[in-house]
């Protein structure tokens, strides 16, 4: 190539305004300055590729929105944590064929509710093989596999998934959300941002939708995953290859042992959660099931606990909040729901975006329809119904005095040592008296429990 032709070919480099005779070291590198800055644009950016985010991205992409799904972990599920169980009902509508390729660990066919003291356990067991079928089906899952599968569904529908990026803040212009901000010179513009960041969402606070979390609003969940051969699990839990038992969740080749303790209780009683977890793991009733296994994973996460009592504002100009970030979690003592509400809220967010688009734009007023779609799926209604449950369960009597009492009663019921047997009713009254709970209070707790659960 001749010099002249070459210079012509490279002429776009010739108009650089910078003085190039001596390289100037600028204090701040100007990456793609001025007109050369390329800002990517999407209709919607979903922050967080957990169940809520993927459900939102999937729904949005299907409705024709160009959708970016941004995940902080190296892959979806890498940073996620949950107890281990998914209620499958939202899939009936969203992915009717879900059971074909969903990475189910085991289907839940038995519910156990057990009270444990130092060395004894007292439980109710409910066997129901038909729970594994139909709309009420539920299954155990591992986040690394489940979230990856779900995010893939969103990608297949056309959403663009980017992992390994932490969104630092929202991009605001003229008082409304206009996209996300990762670093100076690294922002992406959108008409709507869906926050699906989980329980510890910082964007919800930065968007001014909620104040800082209070200790009473969150619990700490810890989980240990104990590796065991699949056959051992089947043998010990009396399961076939695909069935599972809930609470101490059985996965295919591991068992998840988890517990959730209120942050307030932890600080008030001055105990370390690891200590409680260890005592739980070492409990004879648990040890029987996991002995010989190796703890291969330990995880901990905050759990939003106050449900309807801690919800942020759910929508604003160019913004919607879904899943745990919105506090969509129901723990009423016998069921623990998060993933199903997350998925349902993601779908509702997609519908709200569609409605807002039809109404002329992603304004706070138009996005207000989100609540309507949440109610249609009973998300808000269930949350409101169980609003009192967290407060009820905070009573010490429920997790401390009563289990101990029940255990004492059971011990006296079943002990035959020739020392003379009492009638059951007398045992109960006697134990209640020695536990120091007035009869009226017991009756009241029972009544409140029935109402809040």
């Amino acid at each position: 190539m001749s010099r002249k032709a070459e210079r012509a070919a490279s002429s776009r480099f010739g108009r650089c305004p910078t003085d190039i005779s001596e390289e100037r070291l600028l204090p701040v590198p100007l990456f793609r300055r001025g007109k050369r800055e390329i800002v990517e644009h999407f209709d919607v950016i979903v922050v967080g590729a957990g169940p809520a985010g993927s459900a939102a991205a999937l729904t949005l992409a299907r409705k024709g929105f160009s959708t970016l799904l941004v995940e902080r972990g190296r892959s979806p599920g890498a940073k996620g944590m949950f107890g281990g169980r998914v209620y499958a009902w939202p899939f009936a509508e969203l992915l009717p064929e879900w059971a074909k390729d969903c990475p189910i660990e085991r289907r839940v066919v038995r519910e156990n509710l057990a009270f444990l003291t130092d060395d004894a356990s007292l439980g109710i067991s409910f066997d129901a093989p038909k729970m594994a079928q139909g709309r009420g089906a539920s299954f155990t899952a591992l986040r690394a596999k489940f979230d990856a599968w779900f995010a893939k569904k969103a990608q297949d529908a056309g959403a663009v998934l980017v992992t390994g990026i932490r969104v630092d803040d929202l991009w605001r212009e003229d008082g409304r959300v206009r996209g996300v901000f990762v670093a100076p010179n690294d922002r992406v513009v959108s008409d709507l941002v869906v926050i699906a960041e989980g329980a510890t969402s910082t964007l919800v606070r930065k968007a001014g939708l909620k104040a800082d979390l209070e200790p009473r609003e969150v619990s700490v969940g810890v989980k240990e995953t104990v590796e065991l051969p699949a056959e051992t699990i089947q043998e010990r839990f009396g399961l076939d290859e695909t069935e599972g038992a809930a609470y101490l969740y059985t996965n295919r080749a591991s068992v998840s042992l988890g517990l959730v303790v209120s942050s307030e209780d932890l600080s008030r009683k001055k105990v370390e959660i690891q200590e409680i977890q260890t005592r739980f793991r070492m409990h004879p009733a648990v040890q029987r099931l996991i002995r010989g296994g190796k703890v291969v994973e330990y995880s901990a996460h905050l759990v939003p606990e106050l449900g309807a009592g801690m919800m942020p504002r759910l929508s604003g100009d160019g913004i919607l909040v879904v899943g745990d970030a919105a506090g969509f979690l129901i723990n009423n003592g016998y069921t623990f729901r998060g993933v199903d509400l997350a998925i349902a809220s993601g779908v509702a967010a997609g519908e709200a975006a569609e409605a807002a688009r039809a109404a002329g734009g992603m304004t706070a007023a138009n996005l207000g329809a989100y609540e309507k779609f949440l109610r249609r799926r009973n998300v808000l209604t269930d949350l409101e119904r169980f609003r009192r449950a967290p407060l009820y369960m905070k009573k010490d009597r429920l997790f401390d005095v009563y289990p101990r009492m029940l255990m004492e009663i059971a011990e006296r019921m079943y002990t035959v040592d020739g020392a003379g047997k009492e009638r059951l009713f007398d045992v109960v009254l006697d134990e209640a008296a020695s536990a120091g709970v007035p009869k009226l209070k017991m009756l009241l707790d029972l009544l409140q429990g029935a109402r809040s659960m």
Binding site: A9, E23, P29, L30, F31, L68, L161, V182, R187
Partner: protein, 274 residues
């Protein structure tokens, strides 16, 4: 063929990178005595990542175009995509079965041919060496094929009056060298901190079209000069260093007593004097 000197600053930088197994996870197969590469997570060869960062810093300041080049199987796309996500403008992978088994001689030849096909370059940057072979041959080999001035073991590059001035790490200190463009520099490992990919960069990768695959025929590489049979290096033997086993001994009991026992043992073994 290029004219960086007249423009005063480099217009296009080509950075040569290699994808290598992540060093911490490397294992030598005890039977075959070769590196186990299957199933080991990969990364951009760390010195090449420093070369890329150096190029991107020049781009930040001068608006230079950065093209990343590699030669290898299509699994190298992972690293080439990462390079684009970090801020490179585009990347090229020279990939062809006939290149399999090439040592540093055919590699330097094939890369230099590909660089000529990319064209328009003023500065070529390579890492000082790879972490999986550590020869340091390829960068200088490319400079040889293209008949370019080269500065090796560079930790800093400045563009001054249309010339490259580079700080070279020598055994007994540092030297400053200056040369005209186009030229080639091999970059010191650890001389800068490679940036993380950006969201915008990752989206650009997802949108596609920024990683180009070329075969030997696309570039016009002579098949008789590449591949295993045209590689003069013969790996005669690879030895693994076996750590000597240690005869551990635990002194139990009361602290004072066990310390006394330990001391006595160390004295007996003449590790310390009594």
């Amino acid at each position: 063929m290029t004219a960086g000197g007249t423009a005063g600053r480099p217009r296009r930088i080509v950075v040569c990178i290699k994808q290598v197994p992540r060093a911490q996870e490397l294992q030598v197969d005890p039977v075959t005595q070769t590196l186990k590469r299957v199933g080991v997570p990969s990364e951009i060869n760390p010195p090449d990542a420093n070369a890329l960062e150096m190029a991107l810093q020049l781009k930040d300041r001068l608006g230079t175009e950065v093209v990343v080049l590699s030669m290898g199987p299509t699994s190298f796309d992972e690293s080439l995509e990462r390079a684009v996500a970090m801020g490179a403008d585009r990347s090229v992978l020279l990939t062809d079965r006939i290149l399999g088994g090439s040592d540093t001689v055919p590699t330097a030849y094939a890369l230099s041919e590909t660089i000529q096909k990319i064209g328009g370059y003023d500065l070529l940057l390579c890492g000082e060496e790879t972490t999986d072979a550590s020869t340091g041959h390829v960068g200088p080999g490319i400079a040889g094929h293209l008949d370019l001035p080269q500065i090796t073991y560079v930790s800093e590059v400045r563009i001054i009056n249309g010339k490259v001035r580079a700080r070279r790490t020598a055994e007994d200190g540092t030297e400053w060298w200056e040369t005209t463009m186009p030229c080639l520099c091999t970059v010191n490992f650890g001389c800068n901190r490679p940036r993380e990919p950006t969201l915008t960069g990752k989206i650009r990768v997802k949108r596609g079209g920024l990683v180009t695959h070329w075969s030997c025929a696309d570039v016009g590489i002579d098949p008789k000069k590449v591949g295993l049979f045209n590689s003069p290096t013969i790996v005669a033997k690879v030895d693994t260093v076996r750590l000597p086993s240690r005869s551990g001994q635990i002194f139990s009991g009361e602290p004072e007593e066990s310390v006394r026992k330990l001391l006595a043992s160390l004295v007996a073994d003449r590790v310390i004097a009594a």
